[in-house]
């Protein structure tokens, strides 16, 4: 089912849904890496005046003491002061909600945004925290042992894989 999702059409839909928010002059932040790819497309489609921000939430993960540091961690890059700004937070897949929790924590270490709106390409079941997206490209149901992953950055493609074990 998921491979049949038309990513370009979904991105166009998300961009349309975000357009009414532009009057608040929002800044966009993508979560590394899939969310940043999606955000790059949306940022371009909406022609936002401020540069795109990216977050690598590795240092905010709640399983750090179990899994340790990933040496390929990228630097978070928020080129704009987020204080009192409206933020559109973009991720590829909303699953447990833990990534978004970590991203929100990191955002607040940079300042106090006026609001945060969450836009995701795919929303799947399996939430472990009370976190929901404001804008969803597609909602899907997967088996607990299935994982949906965005491949990219060019071309973007969705892949469902079985989680080992």
């Amino acid at each position: 089912m998921p491979p049949s999702i038309d990513i370009d059409a979904t991105l166009a839909y998300l961009a349309d849904e975000l357009r009414p928010h532009l009057k608040r002059n929002p800044i966009m932040i993508g979560v590394h890496s899939g969310g940043a790819w999606i955000a790059t497309r949306l940022h371009r489609a909406l022609a936002l005046p401020d540069p795109l921000g990216t977050l690598d939430i590795s240092f905010y993960r709640d399983d750090f003491t179990r899994v340790g540091v990933n040496p390929t961690v990228k630097t978070s890059n928020l080129p704009v002061n987020i204080e009192d700004r409206h933020v559109i937070l973009v991720d590829d897949v909303l699953h447990t909600g833990r990534t978004v929790r970590a991203a929100l924590n990191e955002i607040f270490d940079y300042g106090r945004p006026a609001s945060v709106l969450l836009a995701v390409l795919i929303c799947r079941d399996g939430r472990e925290l009370p976190i929901q997206a404001d804008l969803v490209g597609h909602s899907i149901q997967l088996n607990p042992n299935e994982h949906i992953k965005l491949l990219g950055p060019e071309p973007l493609a969705l892949k469902v894989q079985e989680v080992g074990g």
Binding site: F59, T65, V69, V73, S76, T96, T99, D109
Partner: protein, 328 residues
């Protein structure tokens, strides 16, 4: 000294940082790359990451130090650890308590990380051998043996200013004999594949058979500096010297002090480093120390990010292995 069975756990993960010797190139690069991503934290509004929240780090210093202890303290605090400073030159050891007694007492307070500086070589190893499995040890300098975090921040700074090690000729100048910094630098540079490492010192301040470490010794400073990309100065450790190893401080400065005229022998874009504290007018001239090619203060700034990286790598994965799936 065989340290790797102490330094690494059964899965090849770094557990303690005791010496650079024996650490594979990729692990050194992982530390430098992780440090890279910590650099920006120091430029943020809120200079904090939650990685070590709830952990307790003890700076256990048996030797006086301001800069090293401070940068370890800032690094641990930026990672949200609680930090205790214990300067034992004036504490329990003077009451006859042994090193391990001191450590066991601090351990009984449920500490997670010890940063140890001690005047005796091997002190950090001894502690690492006796702590429970979840406790981590970082050697912040032991006797003449090793100072691995200093060498790593030096490597970070070299890479930042000069790029890949394979192209670089590096000269280490000064009191090689007494220097744990030099020993760690030499191991790091050769593991990372520097094109050439030279050591420049009067013969009395060079260890016997220093060539065995893979370095080229020079006792003529001008010849040694010829064509190098990086000049790493060492502090002349007057407090460790017994007997007449240098004729006089003035003569030492004339022959081995880094003056603008001496520096002219190196490549025109060579950088100058010093681990501090500097003896101005003894091993380095102020005109060089404060000059445009000095990266001595960036070394200090980088020291925080590098120590954050080391702490994060050692402490990460210190809990029981993960059960079930990782969180996406």
């Amino acid at each position: 000294m065989i340290a790797n069975d102490l330094q690494f756990d059964g899965h090849g993960r770094l557990r303690h940082l005791l010496t650079i010797e024996g650490i594979p190139r990729q692990t050194l690069l992982d530390i430098l790359n992780t440090a890279e991503s910590f650099i920006s934290v120091g430029e943020r509004e809120i200079k904090k990451l939650p990685l070590l929240r709830g952990k307790t780090a003890v700076n256990l210093f048996f030797e006086h130090s301001t800069r090293t202890r401070t940068t370890f303290e800032i690094a641990a605090k930026r990672l949200s650890a609680d930090v205790i400073n214990v300067n034992t030159t004036a504490s329990s050891t003077s009451k006859g308590e042994t090193l391990l007694d001191t450590v066991r007492n601090l351990e009984a307070m449920h500490t997670d990380l010890f940063v140890v500086r001690h005047g005796e070589s091997g002190a950090a190893h001894l502690i690492a051998r006796h702590v429970p499995a979840h406790v981590r040890i970082i050697n912040a300098g032991d006797g003449r043996h090793a100072h691995p975090t200093q060498a790593l921040l030096d490597m970070f700074t070299i890479r930042q200013y000069k790029g890949p090690f394979e192209q670089l000729r590096v000269a280490i100048v000064g009191d090689i004999l007494h220097s744990r910094v030099a020993r760690s630098q030499i191991h790091a540079l050769s593991t990372l594949g520097a094109a050439e490492v030279r050591v420049i010192a009067p013969k009395t301040l060079l260890p016997l058979c220093v060539e065995r470490l893979g370095v080229h010794p020079y006792s003529d400073m001008r010849a040694g500096l010829d064509g190098v990309d990086v000049v790493m100065m060492l502090r002349l450790q007057r407090e460790r010297m017994r007997g007449a190893l240098i004729p006089s401080e003035q003569e030492y400065f004339n022959l081995f002090g880094l003056t603008p005229a001496m520096l002219a022998c190196a490549k025109p874009d060579a950088i100058v480093m010093h681990p501090g504290p500097m003896n101005r007018g003894l091993e380095i001239d102020s005109a060089v120390a404060d000059g445009p090619r000095s990266v001595i203060l960036p070394q200090v700034t980088n020291g925080i990010a590098v120590r954050m990286a080391i702490m994060a790598i050692l402490m990460g994965g210190s809990a029981a292995p993960p059960e079930g799936r990782a969180t996406p």
